[in-house]
Amino acid sequence: MGISEDHIRNFSIIAHIDHGKSTLADRIIEKTGLLTEREMQDQILDNMDLERERGITIKSQAVRTVYQAKDGEEYILNLIDTPGHVDFNYEVSRSLAACDGAVLVVDASQGIEAQTLANVYLALDHDLEVFPVINKIDLPSARPDEVAREIEDVIGIEAEDCPRISAKQGLGIEDVLEAIVNRIPAPDGDPSKPLKALIFDAVYDSYKGVIVFVRVMDGVIKKGTTVRFMATGAVDEVIEVGYFGAGAFIPCDELSAGMVGYITASIKDLKETRVGDTVTNNANPCTEALPGYKKVNPMVYCGIYPADSAKYQDLRDALEKLQLNDASLVYEPETSIALGFGFRCGFLGLLHLDIITERLEREYDLDLVTTAPGVVYKVYRTDGEVIELTNPANLPDQSEIEYMEEPVVNAEIMVNTEYLGAIIGLCQERRGIQTGMEYIETTRVLLKYTLPLNEIIYDFFDALKSRSRGYASFDYELSGYERSELVKLDILINREYVDALSFIVFKDNAYDRGRRMCEKLKDEIPRQLFDIPLQAAVGGKIIARETIKAYRKDVLAKCYGGDISRKRKLLEKQKEGKKKMRQIGSVEIPKKAFLNVLKLDEE
């Protein structure tokens, strides 16, 4: 079958969010004739409904195209799309490990932003050849020369002669394709060596079962090969091998060194396949597994409960399937007095949390109650034990705590000087400590801060965008733990402690937070037949209170001409409203309230 390795290019496109990565991917697919223009659907690689709606890439996707280069030769281009949001750096890292080079897309008017840098560093970490492309040159505000200089100054890669394109208008796409062929190295694996392939993703398909995405480093894999997953030790027979068409899996005879494709096998248990694992030939194994991925630790935790407690098992199955292609999702069973049986789930960030809950609801048709997200605290007990606290309800009594530590991040914020004051103010409010400030050019500044993670997980990103009118970008990485004065804020509704609403807060902010939580709950919980006191407490002491006044009149007066069915419909509607509620004691609480109470920075 010979596709020789020197005619293969495996690459990713990396960019800050909104710089046009997915549009460029579309143009490449179109130009290489994989799909006709008529078949093109915008952003072909974002094939989750959710991705198209939000205009972001969440999951990495791969596609194979064939390009007839100017040297007259045909090249196989394997494009592996990557997400752009800071929450999904892990996904980017996985994709990059399957590539030999990366195309860096930079917006011609926005220039370099926080995640441009973050992604470039990731690519360089993987020893990838990176070349820049300046996109959106058709915009009136485009300033490609300045941006080219910025790339050279800040990143230190040559950008003078880089392709200047408009992916939207299809300008300069040929130049990009030529650069891919000429600048990105061909893979250098050896097909005659024992099989060694990296699992960079996996999805569950109800017909094919688990579909494993692989990059073959050495050797050959074909139908019937008995493979071994080196980390889990599982041994399975390969049922099908193939490559990625646009939105389709296309079977082929074999995948050899340097190629990207998929395999399906007689995999019984979803846990047998682990992203980052190495696949080898059971009869003729390679000596050493690939380094795999650094395990990422979730940064944000929250409780996820089925609205209908009978759906607990369905939720468990759904989480298991989602985890298959999202190893960064972790979960374990927990019980809440208020919400019953559910799971404490860990996420890379708030967007990740949002995406997962939405996928659970849409793809698995589940109705969920989500509790307020929190970070992982370290609790040093007086007896010397250290607890990693993911659920505030489990915080030991104050008398048993020696001290606590909270996670902090190193944050980089790129901002226009015009909004510098506002953003510095925001960081100060969030207990940030400035560690650096660099002028990228006269009007743009790179701010560096250390910030407690729990100050940025709820709404920092939104606050940043609104205070800078969108002219700020943000990236962060966990830097470690620091000792902090923290307390648990409890909420009592109708004098009953609601464990699902407890959260950990910086001591000096407790009063203010408690007050605002009560105010917010007052808006979130509809009035009921009796007065409902809302209280915030720290260590048993009430620090804030509000009352939801009972409604006093709700009368349906008209009863006309014996039209009973109309009356019935009105009562049914009233009753239907209850289904969106969760009963805590005698109080009906809307399911959304558990999450919404923490969005305090909205107005």
């Binding site: 069915s565 019935r568 049914e572």
Partner: protein, 389 residues
């Protein structure tokens, strides 16, 4: 012998008015004389056909001619319809026969047409009138889009009394745009001063498909919730002080003058709905006649929009959410006789909860909403809808 005939209430719908009021979402609209005549003819056909079909087994205890504005139809037409009912059904000699009327259609002065019309209606057996007053204030009548002023109501009311109608209901609406509590007190006092036997007092509800519903909320300038609650409480207190007993959420009557027709609905009794868009309940089937006027005129017999066989569950639910609208509540024993199972068994949770919270009370065999329960009856009654088991 006594059980040979089942009691029946008959509702006759007259879907016409001079002009649609701003708050009204009933099935009613202006129409030309020819259409109105054709409709009356169609109604006669329906009456005769229904009489043929079911008349044998029933004894008509109440008749209610509602609208719209039924007095758009000339009295002789109304009389003709009543004659038709009498020739097709067994009508109790002491049946309550109500007709709704509105001022502004014709002159009710001593020399006007109204006087003769009333006399004729009386002669044809109408023995109860329900007159739409809504409010005593001219500017508010205008806001509501009524076609008459207060004077027209006064004249009509006086003429009705003169014609010998002693059982009259006045319809009133409160919580009107721009209304204050003080203003309402005066309004209610004037309503009571007519000395009618029955008063229906509703709070204005803004329905979507009305002129009010299409206006912006702040444009409407409705009394706020506190004000509305004061108005609502005052209505109850003042009417009770003046000898009107509240016997249903929005209905007040002097002793012995409760509307027997409406009580049929609340007690899940059988009733026959005749005319456009009317509803009926016969043999555990609930139905609604078509709302398409042309279709009805062309084919007035058994032309249904909806027809539902009530299940046991439906009937239990209705027994409760209708029965509890009455201040006398329901008889637990009767519930058990009807369904062969105790209400406690079906409604354990809402009964226990609401009795303990003071929204329901049990006295001997009676179960009823307390005053606090009546105030929030919607919420309470919605809990008497059963989940599908």
């Amino acid at each position: 012998m006594k059980n040979k005939f089942k009691p029946l209430s008959v509702y006759l719908h007259i879907p016409f008015c001079r002009k649609k009021c701003n708050y009204c979402d009933f099935l009613s609209a202006p129409a030309d004389d020819e259409t109105i005549r054709a409709y009356a003819d169609a109604l006669s056909v329906e009456i005769a056909a229904k009489g043929e079909e079911i008349g044998e087994g029933y004894f008509v205890k109440t008749i209610f001619i509602g609208g719209g504005t039924p007095n758009i139809l000339p009295a002789h037409s109304i009389g003709g319809l009543l004659d038709n009912i009498r020739s097709s059904f067994n009508v109790d000699a002491s049946a309550e026969i109500t007709m709704e009327m509105n001022p502004g259609i014709y002159d009710f002065g001593d020399n006007g047409k109204g006087r003769d019309e009333l006399a004729l209606l009386k002669a044809k057996g109408i023995n109860r009138l329900s007159i739409g007053l809504q409010t005593n204030l001219d500017d508010k009548l205008k806001t509501l889009g009524r076609i008459h002023d207060h004077k027209a109501f006064e004249t009509m009311y006086a003429q009705a009394e003169k014609a010998g109608f002693e059982n009259i209901n006045i319809d009133m609406i409160s919580s009107l745009p721009g209304q204050t509590f003080e203003e309402f007190k005066e309004d209610l006092k004037r309503t009571v001063s007519f000395g009618s036997k029955h008063i229906s007092a509703y709070s204005l509800i803004i329905e979507e498909e009305t002129a009010f519903g299409r206006m912006k909320r702040d444009e409407l300038d409705l009394p706020d919730e506190e004000e509305e609650y004061r108005i609502y409480c005052y209505t109850r207190e003042f009417l009770e002080q003046n000898g009107y007993k509240r016997y249903e959420i929005s209905n007040y009557a002097r002793e012995g003058y409760e509307c027997r027709h409406n009580i049929t609905y609340w007690k899940s009794g059988e009733y026959l709905g005749l005319g456009l868009g009317s509803s009926g309940l016969l043999n555990e089937i609930r139905y609604t006649v078509t709302e398409d006027l042309k279709a009805y005129i062309a084919n007035p017999v058994n032309n249904y929009r909806e027809c539902t066989d009530l299940t046991e569950k439906d009937r239990m639910e209705e027994y409760m959410f209708l029965g509890l609208r009455m201040t006398e509540g329901i008889s637990l024993k009767h519930f058990e006789e009807c369904f062969g199972i105790s209400a406690w068994e079906i409604y354990e949770k809402p009964l226990n909860t609401y009795i303990s919270e003071g929204f329901l009370e049990k006295e001997g065999d009676r179960l009823r909403l307390t005053e606090a329960g009546l105030d929030v009856s919607n919420e309470i009654l919605s809990h008497f809808l059963l989940d599908i088991v």
